[in-house]
């Protein structure tokens, strides 16, 4: 009889493990490379290789707008994209806790497969371990992409660049928090692979100086880090920051600042002012980019400062997120 929950037997390395891998992962991620079931995957590729890895421990496993599986593909794919690389291959390592429902694992594997397909990547290797626990699940993914020979990164940012945001702030973070608090809201996670908008920028005449996806710590944290790396000042206009009234009030209820809320399908892009209109047009025409906006600009000013012009015309400096106690959002 098929077991409905994960037990220590699934981690034995024997028949139960093989059955789990064959029945769930091999089926969901079905492709010729994985199907060889060798100790490592051998894949074609040439040129400069982009490599990244990320682990996902979000709680709850399923949330409005996504699940840990979709998140684990998007996070790694987006990290490859942010260096201008074309994502190609993923590996995934699963740590399963005993008590996890097999049905949930199937849904998560299916979600990973669908997201990988959407992002145009192939899951070519994997691993599964089981630990004693309470039905939890953790995923590590590593990604390989091929760089396009462009220098993209915070060190390329120039004074005069404009800062573009690909969409609304805070949605992933709010969706996760709402699952745990007694706030009834339909805010959905923005968790998404940004392949289409990055490809549109990379194949256009737009000069992209830097890209960074907005994850834990929010826009404030990534911009502060990029400002410090570039040695420049970033000036944001609060009135230009795209935040929906729903997310704004959600933050208000909990005393949170949308600038520090995490996303999982948004990026900040720095381009020369002359390319800003075209960049905005391309992002808005791509999947997940409808609300893209120019939110600020870069100046020589004081090195490493991020300054926000507030709605009433005041100025405040912003810093990276500090403190703890924030729940696991990715």
């Amino acid at each position: 009889m098929e077991q409905t929950v994960i037990t220590t037997e699934h981690g034995s390395g024997g028949a139960a493990t093989a059955a789990l891998i064959d029945g769930i992962f091999a089926k969901a991620f079905d492709n010729p490379v994985l199907a060889q079931m060798e100790d490592s995957a051998v894949v074609p590729g040439a040129g400069e290789i982009a490599v990244t890895t990320d682990s996902f421990v979000v709680d709850p496993l399923f949330f409005n707008g996504g699940d840990i599986g979709r998140l684990s593909v998007c996070g790694t794919v987006n990290d490859l994209l942010m260096r201008g690389a074309e994502p190609k291959y993923l590996t995934c390592g699963f740590i399963l806790e005993t008590g996890l429902l097999v049905e949930e694992l199937k849904r998560i594997a299916a979600s990973m497969a669908a997201t990988a397909k959407e992002a145009g990547v192939t899951i070519v290797a994997g691993d599964t371990k089981v630990v004693e626990g309470g039905g939890g699940l953790y995923i590590n993914t590593a990604g390989i992409g091929f760089a396009q020979g462009r220098e993209i990164g915070a060190r390329q940012i120039q004074p005069g660049d404009v800062i573009i945001l690909s969409g609304n702030l805070g949605e992933h973070h709010a969706a996760i928090l709402s699952e745990r608090l007694s706030i009834d809201t339909d805010i959905a996670s923005d968790c998404a692979p940004l392949v289409e908008m990055v490809r549109a920028l990379m194949t256009s005449d737009v000069t992209v100086h830097a890209m960074r996806d907005i994850t834990r710590g929010g826009l404030a944290t990534i911009l502060k880090e990029m400002a410090e790396t570039s040695g420049l000042t970033f000036e944001l206009k609060e009135s230009c920051l795209p935040v929906t009234p729903k997310v704004r009030d959600f933050c208000g209820l909990l005393g949170l600042d949308p600038l520090y809320m995490g996303n999982e399908g948004k990026m900040a892009v720095m381009v020369p002012e002359s390319d800003a209109d075209e960049a905005i047009r391309l992002i808005r025409a791509s999947a997940y980019g409808a609300h893209a906006a120019v939110v600020g600009r870069v100046s020589a000013g004081e090195p490493g400062q991020v300054v926000v012009e507030t709605a009433v015309g005041g100025r405040r400096n912003i810093d990276v997120l500090r403190g703890e106690g924030l729940p696991r959002i990715c």
Partner: protein, 71 residues
Amino acid sequence: MCVALPGTVISCDGDSAVVDFSGNRVRAKTGLVDVAPGDKVLVHAGCVLQKMREEEAVELERLFKELGDVG
């Protein structure tokens, strides 16, 4: 910590009400204020603290006129 946010009462049920904040709904205790659906209220720590009034603009204009008179 004295943060309170204005929302709109959607429904009342015994000692609590459902209050809407731009699409986010929260259950808040109503023991400190009598409220009805449609009321704009201030919510603090899971509790309706006060009903909001409409005459804000008028009162501020009046106050500013007075201040203008004294220089």
